[in-house]
Symmetry: C2
Subunit: 358 residues, 2 copies
Amino acid sequence: MKVLAILYNGYKAAKAEPRLLGTVENELGLRAYLESLGHEYVVTSSKDGPDSDFHKHIADTDILITTPFHPGYLTKDLMDKAKNLKVCVTAGVGSDHVDLNAAVDRKIQVLEVSGSNVVSVAEQVMMSILLLVRNFVPAHEMIERGDWQVSDIARNAFDLEGKVVGTMGAGRIGYRVLQRLQPFNCKELLYYDYNALPASAENTVNARRVEDLKDFVSQCDVVTVNAPLHEGTRGIINKDLLQHFKPGAWLVNTARGAICNAEDVASAVKSGQLRGYAGDVWNVQPAPKDHPWRHMKNPLGGGNGMTPHYSGTTLDAQTRYAEGTKTILQNYFEGKPQDPGNVIVGLGKYESQSYGKR
Amino acid sequence: MKVLAILYNGYKAAKAEPRLLGTVENELGLRAYLESLGHEYVVTSSKDGPDSDFHKHIADTDILITTPFHPGYLTKDLMDKAKNLKVCVTAGVGSDHVDLNAAVDRKIQVLEVSGSNVVSVAEQVMMSILLLVRNFVPAHEMIERGDWQVSDIARNAFDLEGKVVGTMGAGRIGYRVLQRLQPFNCKELLYYDYNALPASAENTVNARRVEDLKDFVSQCDVVTVNAPLHEGTRGIINKDLLQHFKPGAWLVNTARGAICNAEDVASAVKSGQLRGYAGDVWNVQPAPKDHPWRHMKNPLGGGNGMTPHYSGTTLDAQTRYAEGTKTILQNYFEGKPQDPGNVIVGLGKYESQSYGKR
């Protein structure tokens, strides 16, 4: 079989750090294994446009491996070219870069390594909430530029204690965020999800479900997005919804960039309607140099906590998703059942409810 | 009586934001109260050198109010000039800028607003640990400069899960840090303190005491300093102790800058012996423009999470320490007993064990 992996370039870093498994250079550590079974293994970062390696190799690829960090966008058109494609594996969590409805139609399975980096992302959410609420970035920049003016930082710095924090999505990541918020003595924890948590889980994290989205955001000092990107969530945080946020609320999105309207969020930060926005996901990745989220600031010069998409690809996470990818491939080659939690699209049908109610 | 307060300047920010109570402009909200009782109230930020307002006014001041953020250093020499001084109130936590032994000798009481910002600082510790371990600063700087190279960030980004975290000091702040670490599934939580926690408190946070300091630091992936500055802690983190840290450990210090030797810490970060250092406290405040902590970086260009000293002066904290200062003054004027937790030096003797065993 031909296995094609779309990974990000590691350059010198990948040579110096062998734990950077998710790079083109280190190939998820799969080459020896795949070649020992007689399979062909092609690894590339070239992914966009008709001349890219991705578009050229997909024609005779049997198994495609991608990641959310440097996503190979598998559109319906590209699937039409992929006559041999049987399985797509996402090394990580989040398979929205694959046209899932088209995969169902073509009986292409879509699997991901569900548990591999949910903790990594939940930690990034906690960090992002704290650094927005506590006004870290302008404080650090002040030190770097040789300045010292405590009042300019303190005037927009708050404690997380006593705030209302809500998660859009209380699944694998959102629930872990709620767990990590427990000791911070927040005023209230809320969640918005089309599935209610089981009563015992809800009690464990002492979170209250709010069923209407506008009602939900209007109650939150901090909103964190922990939902997959699908037809029901694309662009859901836009100018209309932002008007229902508390004035001066903070928004953290480590889920998918396209859940937010980029221009609307940037405008809300610039006006102060949002006190800040942080996250590592962008509606196109790599983000263009002129993306409005790179430089947006609130009226007091802070409120931007953006990073490139890396929260789920810490070295600890890379070990887990490389191992998880290998297990998925082993199961496939040996005809063993997959871990049900890893199956997004089975043979011709959705197995997961994560990508909207089906 | 004459009441003298040494606060930081708020300039425009203080005029725009009345919750910036701890500024010269907003005077801890005490003027009307003090003047209604017939007291004189002098507020200034001018604090260093013989020509400063602080050194001039101290001669006939009865009650001195200072903060840790813009500390008025009350030395023994200055106390000799302060013939009328009866009470020093620290609006915040940490009274190391007052020569406490000299205060004992002169029967000058030293009080602080103990509970006012311990949560604020514990949150800053959690934020600082996460942003070092997860390599936030270089990631954000990459976005700001228009770049996108995930591998350069990921190669030095880790999860907090599975790491050993230890606090030097398990008092009011250190214990709150241990509480907030509970849901992060750390490999182990350790503490170093000359007082053992009560067994029930130790069990609550599932932390193990290590009695030898070198042994303690050698076991930690992350060390957080949550101890007061006193004779026993000044300069305790120096070249000798740093050699006992795990190679590549992270160090967070939001306690007092002088607990660390500044040059030794900067060298350890530059060499990679420390993977990073974050905190908001400096051995002199305001920190000079050429302080080595402003620009130190690890060999991979990250590992600096410094800010000016503001963690305990969020707007939420300012409300609490302004109210707490007023309560201390009221108790003093009305001859009521002080909250025992707020008394560092009583009449001629230490009442707190926080500043070393006495």
